[in-house]
Amino acid sequence: MAEITVRNLHKEFGVGADKIVALDDVNLDISGHVFVSIVGASGCGKSTLLNILSGIETPSHGQVQITEDGRPAAKGYVFQAARLLPWRTVMDNLLFVQKDRSEQTRARCQRYLDMVQLGDKGRKYPGELSGGMQQRVGIARAFSTEPDVLFMDEPFSHLDAITARSLRAELQNMWQETRKTVIFVTHDVGEAVELSNRILVFAKGGHLADDIDMPLPFPRDVADPEVAVAKANVFRTFEQIGALAVS
């Protein structure tokens, strides 16, 4: 079981007058097979938190620990843009992030490509695929390393509404099937309510303003009154903490 522990996390960029505080004294405990969404207006530090958790950035001070049954957890990442190597085929892009290139690994990669309905596109180059397909490859790549924790940074924000909707459903199924711990950053409250068990609301200045449990059963239909009420509640929280003031 994955355990994420964050203690007194602080991150700032720049020096002197240009100093920007991105994260301010963040404390967090996440454990088990949960889908956690981090929401907030742009510039509230949600992507920075994700980058620190995943190891792309280092904190100014504070501790982050991510373990799976006591050992360091394996991590996967889905970015806002697909970030595929344009000079390698879809299959090679998946193999690029693997520990080995054995037959088993190949079979696993193929399985995840099948799961995102791109099983026949392994030999294509990313440039030959649509934006939605590329993002699917990004998702398959993240799952194919069979990570304990999966980080996703606004993975659907660049896509059109219909593609985003179908990918959300796909992601939901894959999460149900594989039961990973997912940390999902988004600025779309509806998306967060639809997908997650738990919503962390970040406010301007990079502090964690609220921590909301979402016990409704999956799959959630946006038209369902209960889901609509939950969504309204999250928006109310936003208003209370003034997170929406800027947007």
Partner: protein, 348 residues
């Protein structure tokens, strides 16, 4: 009776609808001769024809003003028969054209390899470090501004006759392009891909091999093309002054022999050679290295984009036309068959 009436009614409508569908493709697929004339191949072929006409015209005009010019102004026939003799191995020069170009090509190859190796190292340094960049920057620009004639003269003075002078000229001509291109390549490094590699814990060696090097490839390739084109010219100038053989020396041989057709013919062989190289080596290589690029031919993409909506609207209007008639005359397939029959009966 009523059946034939509906047939007659639908007849014109039926023939009208397919016509709109046919017309657009027909306009696109114009007469084969027109198509050949419009193609870019025709444009390419037209250029040498125009050049040839201008050449013949110029000889006629100049010789009409100054008749003695016949001796120095070679005619196309003279030049082409000279080139043919050279290509078939019949030459008055000490070596035939293949040996000569072989010698020059070897020098060019060695010079380019040295320029690429040193230039890549310096370019990487300049792209990665501001200090290294400051150290080299002005000198790279200075070397770039230096005419290669100056390098050629200097190298033939410094190294005498032989291989070294021409090779050093190629290195000095080519190296600034390699340096500048590699530096730009490093500056344009895909940082988002590096972050991706780091997030997935990909090893440093794999990141260099699969992210850094491929992202530098387009820049290296551009550098090699420039180094080839300019190094080739520098090499010839160097061989004129400091060579005992090679393409440049042979052009000078024909110059010393007062054979204008020899000078022009050899220069043309030289151009043909460079073009073949460009076409068969660089284009093949770039096709191989950049096969991942979605659409290499930009013109084709533009054409497709402009054509596609037209075809779509044509089929759409045809469909809607059929649709409206289908409601008045019954099921589509029957009606379509009937229309064909009437047309056939009209023909017969």
């Amino acid at each position: 009776m009523s059946a034939t009436d509906t047939r007659r009614d639908t007849g014109p409508a039926d023939t009208a609808a397919p016509d709109t569908v046919d017309e657009l493709p027909r306009r696109r697929r114009s007469h084969p001769v027109v198509r050949v004339l419009r193609s870019s191949l025709a444009g390419r072929i037209a250029f040498p024809i125009v050049c040839l006409l201008v050449w013949l015209l110029a000889i006629r005009i100049v010789t009409s003003i100054w008749p003695f010019a016949v001796d120095v102004l070679p005619t196309p026939t003279q030049v082409f028969s000279f080139m043919w003799d050279e290509l078939t191995g019949e030459t008055l020069a000490p070596r035939n054209v293949y040996e000569t170009f072989g010698i020059s090509l070897r020098r060019l190859g060695i010079g380019m390899a040295i320029a690429m190796a040193i230039g890549t190292v310096i370019g990487l340094g300049m792209g990665l470090s501001k200090r290294v960049n400051a150290f080299f920057n002005d000198w790279v620009v200075a070397i770039l501004a230096m005419p290669n004639l100056a390098w050629a003269l200097f190298c033939s003075l410094a190294f005498g006759f032989g291989d070294v002078g021409p090779i050093v000229t190629v290195v000095l001509t080519g190296i600034p392009f390699v340096i500048i291109n590699v530096r730009e390549g490093v500056r344009n490094a895909p940082t988002d891909l590096y972050d991706m590699a780091r997030a997935f814990g990909v090893s440093r060696a794999d990141t260099i091999r699969h992210v850094l090097l491929p992202s530098l490839m387009p820049f290296m390739f551009a550098a090699a093309r420039y180094a080839f084109a300019l190094g080739w010219k520098g090499l010839v100038v160097a061989e004129v002054f400091g060579g005992e053989d090679g393409a440049g020396w042979t052009i000078k041989f024909w110059y010393d022999a007062h054979r204008a057709y020899g000078v022009i013919g050899y220069a043309l062989l030289f151009v043909v050679f460079a073009l073949l190289f460009e076409k068969f080596l660089f284009d093949r290589l770039s096709g191989y290295f950049f096969r991942w690029r979605p659409e290499v031919n930009a013109a084709d993409v533009v054409e497709q984009r402009f054509d596609a909506p037209g075809v779509a609207t044509a089929t759409a209007t045809a469909d809607s036309g059929n649709g409206t008639h289908a409601t008045t005359t019954g099921p589509k397939p029957e009606r379509g068959a009937g229309g064909d029959e009437t047309r056939r009966s009209h023909d017969g």
